[in-house]
Each structure stands twice: as structure tokens, then as C-alpha cells.
């Protein structure tokens, strides 16, 4: 990034090549729309380009970039939700999406998958998490960032982040129980909900 700051266009291209896919991926998982995800990713790179002269290496470049991406994605999700609320002002009150139908524990997974795509089921479980938990899971699981970096992006302590991650994975474990493993059914009696 310091080379980009010095006006090296080739370095900006390297940044683009390195972070384009993870960034679009992250944004797609946040907003769940490929067009919007790409638009937001372009906006992130554009902001990085505009701010290159003011960049100071006080924080890691990825922390800075993903913080921009997180803020843009959350604003987009909120705006979209608000827009849909305005459109359906006269319509009966409904949730943004129908709730995830968690299959019964004794139901065979393949029966459930007839109705719903497996990946979509997982996507929706992640999307149903509260904002902070969702960002934490995406950065931890898919971007494999360390705790310090994720904590700086979410502006919380590492200790708080660990609690957020635990709650998020615990929710996903329950929501996706039929997919996690058949063994969960056998251990239902052993399990203890925190």
C-alpha cells in the first residue's frame, strides 16, 4: 500500500488482484446479491485509491480495507431493508425473508434437501445472525483473520469478540443441527444449552 501511496499504479493492480476475490466473497455473503456485492467492492477499491495519499501504516491494510467493506455492507443491508419496508408500507407486516425452516431432528437430511438447496440453507443461517456475529463469523471462518484484526474491524476487545464468536457458532450449530451431523440426534440427551 505504501507503493500505491507513492503513486505506483502497478502496486494498486497487485492489491486489486490479491484482494478482489476475498472482498467480493465477503460482501456477497454479507448482502447476498452478486450485483450489489460487486458494486460495493468497487466502491471499497475506489475509496482505497482516493485515500492512498492519506494512508498511514498505523493499522494493517486488510483491517482498514475490511472495515470500509463492513461499513458499506451494513449500510447497504440497512438501506435495502428500509427500502423494502417503504415499498410494503400498505402490505401486511412480514419479515424480510421467511424464517428458516429448521428440519426436525428425526427428519432425514436428504428429504429436507429436496425442498432447499444445502448451500442456500447455510447462507440463510449465516444471514440470520445479528450483524456483529455475522461479520465476526465471515472474517473468522472465511477470511481466516486473527482475533486482534477482527476485533479492530468490529471495534471491540478480543475478549468480547471471543464471546461474540461463541454465540454465533452456537446459534449456527443449533440452526444447522440436521446438517452438522446425524450424530447430534444421538447425543441430544447429552447436550447442554448454555
Amino acid at each position: 500500500m505504501l507503493d500505491v501511496k507513492a503513486g505506483d499504479e502497478a502496486s494498486f493492480n497487485l492489491l486489486l488482484q490479491k484482494y478482489r476475490t476475498p472482498l467480493v466473497n465477503f460482501l456477497y455473503r454479507m448482502v447476498r446479491d452478486s450485483g450489489t456485492a460487486e458494486d460495493l467492492a468497487q466502491e471499497v477499491f475506489l475509496r482505497v485509491y482516493r485515500a492512498r495519499k492519506q494512508y498511514s501504516p498505523s493499522a494493517k491494510f486488510t483491517t482498514w480495507m475490511f472495515r470500509i467493506a463492513t461499513n458499506l455492507a451494513l449500510n447497504s443491508v440497512r438501506d435495502n431493508r428500509f427500502r423494502r419496508m417503504q415499498v410494503s408500507l400498505d402490505a401486511p407486516v412480514e419479515e424480510d425473508e421467511p424464517p428458516i425452516q429448521v428440519p426436525a431432528r428425526d427428519m432425514r437430511i436428504d428429504e429436507h434437501m429436496v425442498e432447499r438447496d444445502r448451500a442456500e440453507f447455510i447462507h440463510r443461517a449465516i444471514a440470520a445472525l445479528p450483524e456483529k456475529q455475522r461479520v465476526a463469523v465471515l472474517l473468522h471462518k472465511y477470511e481466516e483473520m486473527d482475533y486482534g484484526e477482527i476485533a479492530r474491524i468490529l471495534e471491540c476487545s478480543e475478549s468480547a469478540l471471543k464471546s461474540v464468536l461463541f454465540r454465533a457458532y452456537e446459534t449456527l450449530r443449533v440452526q444447522l443441527a440436521p446438517l452438522v451431523a446425524g450424530s447430534v440426534v444421538h447425543r441430544a440427551g447429552e447436550g447442554r444449552t448454555l
Binding site: 466473497n25 475506489l46 447455510i122 482475533y147 450449530r173
Partner: protein
């Protein structure tokens, strides 16, 4: 240690980022707690499940569109350094406004000679200067402050004293 206390370190233990001390604590707990052992195993399976979600690749024209947007960005001009920064310009404007206001405030205005006492009035003041100086001296004298305070009866003279005693006085 209780399950709730271990839960915070459980994720870091499973992704192998916990330090050795925390790792030992969690391992010790997992030996004795079947519920947490089961949860830990489920988390591992959950992570494998999350890996099944396919990555979303950017579209073919992503780079081209971005370069187009960058190219359409306004270029910095050669005289850009002459243009003051917004904060600096605001501060300068504020300072100018403050100095104008200060120069127009009443205490800084020149004396209004139209209201100055006339020469005759000045002579009268000089005539009464002795009286004025004595009054000033007496009013600031400590001796007066040491005098006993007068009661309200003393302060208000009786009616007959207040009346003028005829023309003879």
C-alpha cells in the same frame, strides 16, 4: 472450571489460536465434561459444513469497470497546492471575521469629540475641584468606616428637626 467460563476460549482452542495456558485449561475441562466435548465436536463439523458454501467469484469485467471508474476520477491539477485546504480556509475566515468584529467593538472606537465637555464646563469642573477632591478623600477614608453605625432612628431625623427652623437660620 465451569462450562460458561470455558466457552469463551473454546473457539480459540479449536482453531488452534489459544495460548498454551488457555489450551491446557480447556483440555482439562473437556476431559471431564461430556457436554462440552460434544459441543466441541459439533463445532468442528459445523466448520466443515461452512466450507461447503462455494466462493463467489467476481465477474469478468470487474477490473475493467473499476479502471474506468478510476479513470473518470477528477485528476489533481497543477495549481492544486494554491487552493487552500477547507479547514485552513475556514480558520482564516474566522480570524478575519473576529478581527473585524474586535475593531468595531465600542471600546476600540475613537472618542466621540462631539460629547466632550465644552471649555466653560471644564472651567466649572476646575472651580469645584477642591470640593470633589475632599469628597473623594473622605469617602475613601478608613476613619469613616470606624464610626459606629447609625440606627434607623438616628438615620431618620425627627420631623421637627427635619423641618426648616424658620428663616432666621
Amino acid at each position: 472450571m465451569k462450562c460458561d467460563d470455558v466457552s469463551r476460549e473454546l473457539i480459540a482452542y479449536l482453531d488452534r489460536r489459544a495460548n498454551s495456558a488457555d489450551r491446557a485449561v480447556v483440555e482439562e475441562h473437556l476431559k471431564d465434561c461430556a457436554a462440552c466435548r460434544s459441543r466441541a465436536e459439533d463445532f468442528r463439523k459445523l466448520w466443515s459444513l461452512l466450507d461447503e458454501v462455494p466462493a463467489h467469484e467476481p465477474s469478468f469485467g470487474f477490473d475493467a469497470r473499476l479502471r474506468q471508474r478510476i479513470a473518470s476520477e477528477p485528476r489533481p491539477r497543477w495549481f492544486a497546492w494554491l487552493v487552500p485546504r477547507p479547514r485552513l480556509a475556514f480558520t482564516m475566515a474566522l480570524l478575519v471575521a473576529l478581527s473585524v468584529w474586535m475593531s468595531r467593538s465600542p471600546q476600540n472606537r475613537p472618542t466621540n469629540f462631539a460629547n466632550a465637555p465644552s471649555e466653560e464646563e471644564q472651567f466649572q469642573m476646575i472651580d469645584h475641584l477642591g470640593v470633589l477632591e475632599n469628597f473623594d478623600l473622605l469617602s475613601k477614608s478608613d476613619v469613616l468606616s470606624e464610626l459606629p453605625a447609625r440606627t434607623p432612628q438616628e438615620k431618620a431625623p425627627p420631623d421637627d428637626e427635619a423641618q426648616p427652623k424658620g428663616d432666621g437660620g
